[in-house]
Amino acid sequence: MSLLEISNLTKSFGGILAVNEVSFSVNNGEIIAVIGPNGAGKTTLFNLMTGIYQPTGGQVLFNGNNIIGMSAHRIAGLGIARTFQNLQIFNNMTVLENVMVGRHTKSKTGLLGAIFPISRVQREEREIVEKAMKKLTLVGLANKAMVGADNLPYGRQKMLEISRAIALEPELLLLDEPAAGLNSTETRKLVKIIYKLRDQGVTIILVEHDMETVMEIADRLVVLNFGNKLAEGTPVEIQNNQEVIAAYLGEEDLVC
């Protein structure tokens, strides 16, 4: 059984089909890239999978459970974490605190425990700090733990979002344009981190425009165009797919 099965997923915004009958499945341990021109529906797809939007039709099975209709926080609790195309850092918190929020579903102190922190609560708190620090170390931000998150440069904020998302210890990680705005050194670092996560058993779906990176790391690609799935296949298959080339990769070449 595949980890994620998306079938006939549809979302319309007042008559405009942002995602139209899209189906594909993702196996455990895969790195899948979703590509397509701007406005193809990639981010909408992520928002549907994480409960930010409710779809007009179709279903999403995660580990065999239909997650459509579930609220975003419940879906996160099932083990789907994500980053955002437009950074959604908690600017009012330190770097470490950002990642500590990522441990939310893995800890259980309630309001009463928060008011009266007995030793069990304190132990859990220490554990949260330790785990969060490990995730920061993984992305190379451990030395910035106590810095206000809004003081980090853009590239590092992206890394922070990744470490915050993986603090949830997700089975499935959705990365929305992780390489956008990164310089080549940072991109190399990102690729290393993605491989490291894959080796730890995390399944990854990423939306990305940086074709070089995508073709390098993705096991399979899903190509979207105007909300429709145009093609699906290995990087080699996609690079040789005439439709994809026409619609996306090399339209200008054909015209010239």
């Binding site: 409960g51 994500r82 850092i89 908690f90 929020v101 990522g102 939310h104 102190t109 922190p117």
Partner: protein, 340 residues
């Protein structure tokens, strides 16, 4: 994390220092009027700490907190004066009852956001106030309870002077601050602040935003209720007038003036506004003899506008920011003077 521990130690030593100051203060200030002002500041601080937790950390506004404050006062007042219930049990019942009211009413009104939520809480406060005015058989109506409310006592030790009551009120206020501080630096506190930072990201990390907003709303209502009970046993008489919209606005102004996202903000905000109000009571009749009580609202409005423009994060953060700005300029000056 050494850094984390150091910050925690600093927080704890600040609280310890503050506690010492609080306990020395009534021995220095011997004037009964000033002591009574300090008691009122302690009672208001308890309410405003809860309100700051709600506004500063959960990012939700409440214009109805005088209602919860009044509920606590009336439950204590009515139960102890009319039904001879033990005052301590009455305080507890008031807290539980108010908490329940806040929770149940919170379920529908937290579906609203921003201005709509503010208006809903405003309405809630008004409804509670109307009930106090109209349920004459229970509350005595606009003229208040007819029987007097007993003083609180510990064993046979009656807390019947400002000096004695001061300690009870400030122990409660300190407990309110310490417990609120615990919440802020907990999993729940982080969840709440994350909602403030980015609601989408918070949800995508599994934070059930609605649940925590509601819980903190309930907690802040309980804070207000306990403070209301303390007020009732201090004044030993209650009528609806101190629990109206004006008081809700006053709490709000205190919270904003002090600074929302700091546990020290409430003390500064409450002290500043209470001293100002007391000062106005003294000065205004001398300057404008025919002025009614409503001039206060004009002053609050002006203060709110000034604070919002010049110190949008409140006095507490404002002072810190000004200090850091000054230090920054000084450093800059040091560096540039080295160039010469």
């Amino acid at each position: 994390m050494e850094d984390l521990k150091r910050r925690k130690r600093l927080r704890h030593s600040l609280i310890a220092l503050f506690t010492v100051i609080i306990f020395i203060l009534p021995f220095i200030i011997t004037n009964n009027y000033y002591r009574s002002v300090l008691v009122i500041i302690g009672i208001y601080t308890t309410v405003v700490v809860g309100l700051c937790l709600l506004m500063g950390y959960a990012g939700q506004i409440s214009l109805g907190h005088a209602g919860f404050y009044g509920l606590g006062a009336y439950v204590s007042g009515v139960l102890t004066s009319t039904y001879d219930v033990s005052p301590w049990i009455a305080i507890l019942l008031g807290a539980v009852g108010t908490g329940l009211v806040a929770y149940i009413i919170g379920i529908p009104i937290f579906r609203l956001q921003g201005h709509y939520l503010a208006l809903a809480t405003l309405g809630l406060g008004l409804i509670i106030h109307v009930v106090m005015m109209e349920e004459v058989d229970i509350t005595g109506g606009p003229s208040g309870l007819t029987k007097s409310i007993p003083y609180l006592s510990i064993g046979r030790f009656e807390l019947n002077t400002d000096f004695k009551y001061y300690f009870l009120v400030w122990i409660v206020a300190l407990a309110a601050i310490i417990l609120a501080n615990n919440v802020v630096h907990s999993r729940i506190g982080r969840a709440l602040r994350s909602v403030h930072g980015s609601e989408f990201a918070a949800q995508s990390l599994g934070v059930d935003t609605g649940k925590y907003k509601l819980q903190v709303f309930t907690l802040s209502a309980i804070y207000a209720s306990v403070a209301g009970s303390l007020y009732a046993h201090y004044i030993t008489f209650i009528s609806p007038s101190p629990f109206g919209l004006m008081t809700s606005i006053q709490f709000l102004v205190m919270a904003v003036v002090g600074g929302l996202a700091s546990i020290w903000g409430p003390i500064f905000g409450v002290t500043a506004i209470t001293l100002l109000t007391e000062g106005l009571k003294y000065i205004v009749p001398k300057m404008i003899p025919q002025a009614g009580g409503e001039y206060e609202i004009v002053v609050y409005g002006v203060i709110l506008v000034i604070i919002m423009i010049f110190l949008p994060e409140g006095i507490t953060s404002g002072i810190v920011n000004i200090y850091e700005g000054w230090r920054h300029r000084k450093e800059l000056a040091d560096v540039t003077s080295g160039d010469k």
